[in-house]
Amino acid sequence: MKEKRSFQLTTPTWCKGCGLFGVFDALKSAAASLDLEPEDLVIVTGIGCHGRLNNYFRAYGFHGLHGRTMPVAAGIKLVNPLLQVVAVSGDGDAYSIGLGHFLHALRKNIGLTYVVVDNRIYALTQGQASPTTDFGAVTLFTPFGSKDFPIDGPALALAAGGTFIARGFSGEVAHLAALIERGMRHDGFALIDILSPCVTYNKMNSYDWYRKHVFHVEDSPDYNPRDKARAWDALSSPKKIAIGLIYEEDKPSFEELVLPDVKKPIASLDLKVDHPRLKRIIERFR
């Protein structure tokens, strides 16, 4: 197994106590336990505080546009399925501007690990409501309380046919790291939604608040993540938030379905102009 610190490039400058530190740590642990080389890992990020990650993490990185992590990561994975491709988004990136891309990458079951760091606020723009902000929450732009009902990423994923749906908490790094690692090993699309406090702009959903409001699905001895009805129950709990591996199933990944040969990445093809089929194609137009 690799050492965690081989993935650390620099020291992050997120606000002291930000949940992203826990996510950063968990990502490094997961990469180390998979024994990855930094060149075999690509981290695709969106726009938000999480997007600074590429400056701190030693791996190939792609810090793209707001909400567009999914198509970029899918393009990379399909061109080189031998790479471990992890996309990281915030709640705005994944569940607002990029919601369409999220559901389509998920339903195609593309072999990506999608880490969504949900702090229930737009922090980089200094505190507007996000799609996961609590109803009634007072934020910079909702002085009279948010009038939007929040959405839940894992529940959406379950409805849309997700094959690996987990939720972690950035206050429980070892638990989170194990979920990310398992997601990276999953053959297909893995969602790891993360409850992650913003210590600067969200005073409501703090570490203490989350500790009081989460429960681990694995604490029920008979919980079976392959039972969809149980997964719905866990995600629909009115008072408490389920964390752990909520749901898992086997389905062929998109790359196995569409690539002629997953062992022969497009990235390393020799582009020859003398392919015999080219001459045959020309014949069709005669």
Partner: protein, 581 residues
Amino acid sequence: MMIKDLSVMIAGKAGDGVLFTGNVLAKILKRQGWEVATYRDFPSNIRGEGTCYTVRASLDKIYGLADRVDILLAFDCEAILAHLPEIAENGIVFCDGEGVAALPPEKTRGKTFHRFLLRSLAREQFGQEIFKNMIALGALSYVLDLDRALLERIISEMFLKKKGKDMVRTNIRAASFGYEKAREMTAETERHPLARKGDDDRILISGDEAIGFGALVAGCRYFAAYPICPATEVWQALVHDMPEFNGVIVQTEDELAALNMAIGAAFAGARAMTSTSGPGASLMMEAFSLAGMMEIPVVIAHVQRMGPATGMPTKSQQGDVLQWIFGSHGEFPRIVLTPGTVGECFDLTVKAFNLAEKYQCPVILLTELDLGQNYRTSRAFDLSAVQIDRGKLLRPEELLDVADFKRYELSADGISPRSLPSYKNGVHVAESLEHDERGYRDEDPANRLRMMGKRMHKLDRASADLTPPRLWGCQKADVGFIAFGSTLGAVLEAMDQLREKKVPSRFLQLRALWPFPAAAVREFLAESRDVFVVEHNYEGQLASLIKSQISPCGELKKIVSSSTRAFTPRDIVEPVLEAAR
């Protein structure tokens, strides 16, 4: 009398098989050795509205429509009323309908009309109405004195594999029946016999198909797109063959995803492409800027249609020129190529992939529906001339001893070495924020100036690599035309007609609009007295571009059109003669 140029229009309602009939006729005429150009005019609807398909054949090289139609084969009488003004003085009309008799005599003078009840004949003779198209093709073969064996061979090629021997036999019988019917129906003087020529090493292909094929040849192995008219034919041209080349085609959820996905694929090492039109191009503007900032080589084929908004999705226009040259947020280098023939669609597609990797920037293949969806004859594309240039893309072994890889190194030409994920010692970040030489976010003001300069200067020396404008016509003439894309055919034939009227002219066909070919245009302007800029849009976007790039530039006369119809020579000859008066 043998003729040298002929246009046949097939007209009816969407669902009548107009497209099928036109395509087969085009193929026969091509095999007969003639130069062929087709023109589809169809609604944005699958069934029930008026549609027509013109097939033009000529002994001379042609690139588009003629001013008139010689023979109209109509599946209903409404089609005749719609197209009567286009029919030549001595034109012939076949119509499946009773309404011919009711046509006003002043409008039908000189023309010959035949009631040709295709549907009922098909039902009576062959049990199904669908055979009306083959009867029609048989009849046209008689009128044009085409090789009957050729039609039979084409029928066999089309139906044998998919539908079997019986279907081939029935179709051949239907064609023979049509042939004999036309012989009974028409006078010998109505025949338009075509001289037979050889058909050596030629193809009949649409611009979209030529782009799709060009992409395969160029090594495009990743294609991501969202369906949109009139660009889907590019995709269609690739869909069956891509797996054989170990490549992949992905239908994305929208055009935002399509371009972002192509960019991700290119970052990972594929030659990647997307195709789109109108509203899809607008959605791609965001990621266009991303490719510019990250210096990602990606090719975007934009087949223009009529806007704004949803506009007229099945009509051609050149209204999105400035969008790609000046569009999206921020400033970044981009290359815009504009093919005017199907051969150039192929050549410039291959070139687009090389330029994208050499200059590490997005390249736009800008064409329009008229060239994209219609068929033209061309010499078979020469694959032996194709070269693949991947620019400063490193091989993994070139990185073995590299300790501090700089993806965005400040090199003399502004173009930096590129490594791919999985390459050891090549780890870097593709960063949409302003970044340093290693790709890490950097807001230092001095770094910003260096990086902006690096990116913007990349194309300083690119003009030598771009396809230069092509000069057509006389060496010296007072009248000059400047145009790009599918107006080419109309301009060239307008020049012929003007020459007959003792007005010599020359024509500068632009095949790359950006970086702007300023030197060639400046020289052309200096040597012409009256310059007409011909373009299929309302405002004259090319004329505005020329004025913005060349100063002083003198007067430019605009020949513009927002008509749903493609340009014909008359649209150009008349304003030139008008200006001379």
